[in-house]
Symmetry: C2
Subunit: 497 residues, 2 copies
Amino acid sequence: MRSNRREAELAAKSSDVTRTLFNPRRMAVVGASTNLGKWGHIVATNIIRGSYSGELFLINPSGGEIHGIPIHRSLDEIGKDIDLAMVTIPAQQVEQVFEDCSRVGAKVVIAISGGFSESSSEGRALEERMIRAAATHGIRVVGPNTMGIYSAPLSLSALMPPVLPQPGHIAFAAQSGNLGTQLLGWGSYRGIGFSRFVCVGNESDLDFADYLEYFAEDSETTVILLYVEGFKRPRRVLELAERISLEKPIVIYKAGTTPVGQKAAASHSAAMAGSAEIYGGMIRQGGMIRAETTEEMLDFCDALAKMPLPKSHSVGILSWGGGWGVIATDLCERAGLDVLPLPGHAIEDIGRVLPDYWSKGNPVDMVGIVDLDAHTRCLEILSSCAEYDSVISLGTINAATAFGLAQRESEKLDKKLIEAQRQYIEMKASQFARKVLDLTQSLQKPILAVGMPEREQDPAKGIERLGSKICTYTNPERAVRVAEMLVHRAEYLRSRQ
Amino acid sequence: MRSNRREAELAAKSSDVTRTLFNPRRMAVVGASTNLGKWGHIVATNIIRGSYSGELFLINPSGGEIHGIPIHRSLDEIGKDIDLAMVTIPAQQVEQVFEDCSRVGAKVVIAISGGFSESSSEGRALEERMIRAAATHGIRVVGPNTMGIYSAPLSLSALMPPVLPQPGHIAFAAQSGNLGTQLLGWGSYRGIGFSRFVCVGNESDLDFADYLEYFAEDSETTVILLYVEGFKRPRRVLELAERISLEKPIVIYKAGTTPVGQKAAASHSAAMAGSAEIYGGMIRQGGMIRAETTEEMLDFCDALAKMPLPKSHSVGILSWGGGWGVIATDLCERAGLDVLPLPGHAIEDIGRVLPDYWSKGNPVDMVGIVDLDAHTRCLEILSSCAEYDSVISLGTINAATAFGLAQRESEKLDKKLIEAQRQYIEMKASQFARKVLDLTQSLQKPILAVGMPEREQDPAKGIERLGSKICTYTNPERAVRVAEMLVHRAEYLRSRQ
């Protein structure tokens, strides 16, 4: 009884702390350095680069300045209270900063230093002492051995690598800073945005359960992503997941699923990776969505953030070429999706658009015709069929870059003619992308587009802008896995109604 | 006896024909058009754009010119013999061109027109008549329903889409022009080069076996790629594959492996897709390498063209961050690769480079240190260990772009400082890529690099140039699949010695 009450009090405190962590009005970098090769310099630069909307203070006994911001010699020198301190000094010195931090009102400290419990038994003792020191001063800790946090509403990139995340609605807690921040960067590159990010580090105080709880209540967040080697409080995470996953989808990647991988995890995050079976059961029971590959972490979250859920297993396939259609059909069949025959009215309608030797079936093969308006029209007809609750379109998006129009051109070509061709394809491909977006929204069906390059280069700026609103993939395998995942998510929610 | 001899004569003839097809000194586009929306215009433009080194003639009774090249009113008007004609006129008229073609010495015709046996029984009759007409005039046919060919030594892009393939040593025969040409374009984008390409079309005359035979003898080709829905002469392909795969690896993707997929294949390429089991057995017996995903078609060929084969299952892993190392370890274990412990001398050597809290094991975790020289040094130590016959390096290649250094920069930053940082990372990441290449060559071990973006943007031009010589992947799954494939290829060759 007593311990339950105590836990409830602590939990309340944790939720206050995480709210402050992701929404600090004022923060300090303790250990800010004028030396370009030091994390104390790089982290400060990244916060400035990210255009943090709160007040930033830099602290180092040696003084100086970074990008025009003066470095104070101590926290006391600031003359204001702060919410958050990010500490970039060596492990041995971290425990000494909490007293100063508490004097200026800091509620939470991000400890990026490594060399704690992940490295040795001496490190473990040091970590325990550090956490006791923090508790003495009523301060909660992120990490240690963390790469920091990101928070979109404040444009706060308090991160070690110079990544510039794209703002969005995915909240991400990762037990690997390098993996986490690389996914943030990959997201920016692909047009996938995040609301919050935290590298959980060694979780010696705040842990996955605390962050999960915050993400659940955060109005900026619609999808949650977890990269996990091992949970400190698996039971609490499961409890939370069962409740949260009815509202917000939780995508999870579990690493350390083989004995050798678990050993690697232990020396990385000091995590007890736990048995693959136990985690498998927990993921299912918690209604979480398992990403089987690292790529699926982003693909799944992106689709869950942007796409409506399908009502059934049926899929309509539109393909610029027959081969992609055959492959996508095989993949759908194997994934348990139904590539149902094309209804009569659609055969009639599409027959008015394509040459008479077209396939007259699902997949709809564009039989290599040049006219991109026909692609757009066929997409519209196919998507509008009540028979299909998801649509996969292959080969039209990114038509321009896939075919290297942006590349060097031969001297022998008539520049005016080529420019006219380029503009035509750009405009039409962009109109197609716009139609994908419009139909997704008006029909409330997921439309997933496959086009070869991951990201537009020079041409088709229109698609690049739309890129952050539609879901595109470099191959049909990814699109079909996403379609399958969306069907399962819809089924899960129906089963819990 | 008689029929065997006849087949031998025909085979000899086919090999002459395919040699001419991929090495035409003079060729004509019959049906060349001044209308920008016609294939007769687009194909001619693509040949000119590709800088074909032979002589190109354009033919259309209406005359005119395309990009400054005059259009002759008939083949007879050329006044020279040609080797190859590419025919872009409607299906019904194709049979009429063979007489003209034979008068000017053409040995082979590429018939891109659709509307033949893939579309209807009338189309099938038309195709049979067309092939009889060709045979009457001693002309062999590519297609019909093909998107054309590419040949690197002549810089010949006789293709429907405006793709500019990168020259290289992969020969590719595809039963889908759209898929095939998109992979060529994707290859250019990724730095993967091709020696020859043919879209086999309906294979009413020349077929997979003919092309395979040519690729086997072609000195420009070191790796062969096949995208197949169904073989016309599976027995002959198997015979050839058993022999060829001892010299040149054959990567194959088999589509149409489900009933619905097979139906789609029939209406696409008129192919009898055949049972998945029979093809599975044939691929194994022929020593072919099966690509399980569309992405693996390129990944496998690229690695086989660039990387030496490993002597054993053992893998050394270098990772910028622990998470990627844990994931790569799990993946290797599941793929049957051995992530063996780090030998004592390597622990000592790496210990001199990394801070003392490093993992002291395989995977070698760079524990997030900034100094990229340390990454290069650790790569060198790990790769040089006799214990490891393959190396996977995660997170250092593309360090610059992954972290968005090329992107917009805040006004608040000191531009000189940022420029210095950018140049440092570019230079060091480029040096790392150079070291990957040097070690691959000097140690004769495959080194596979994972870095998030598929292709460099502005920065690190050095890596972009090296990109065509080293193998890079956007995720560890792809790198591990390639490592596994290389081990199996090496085992196959040893088993046949």
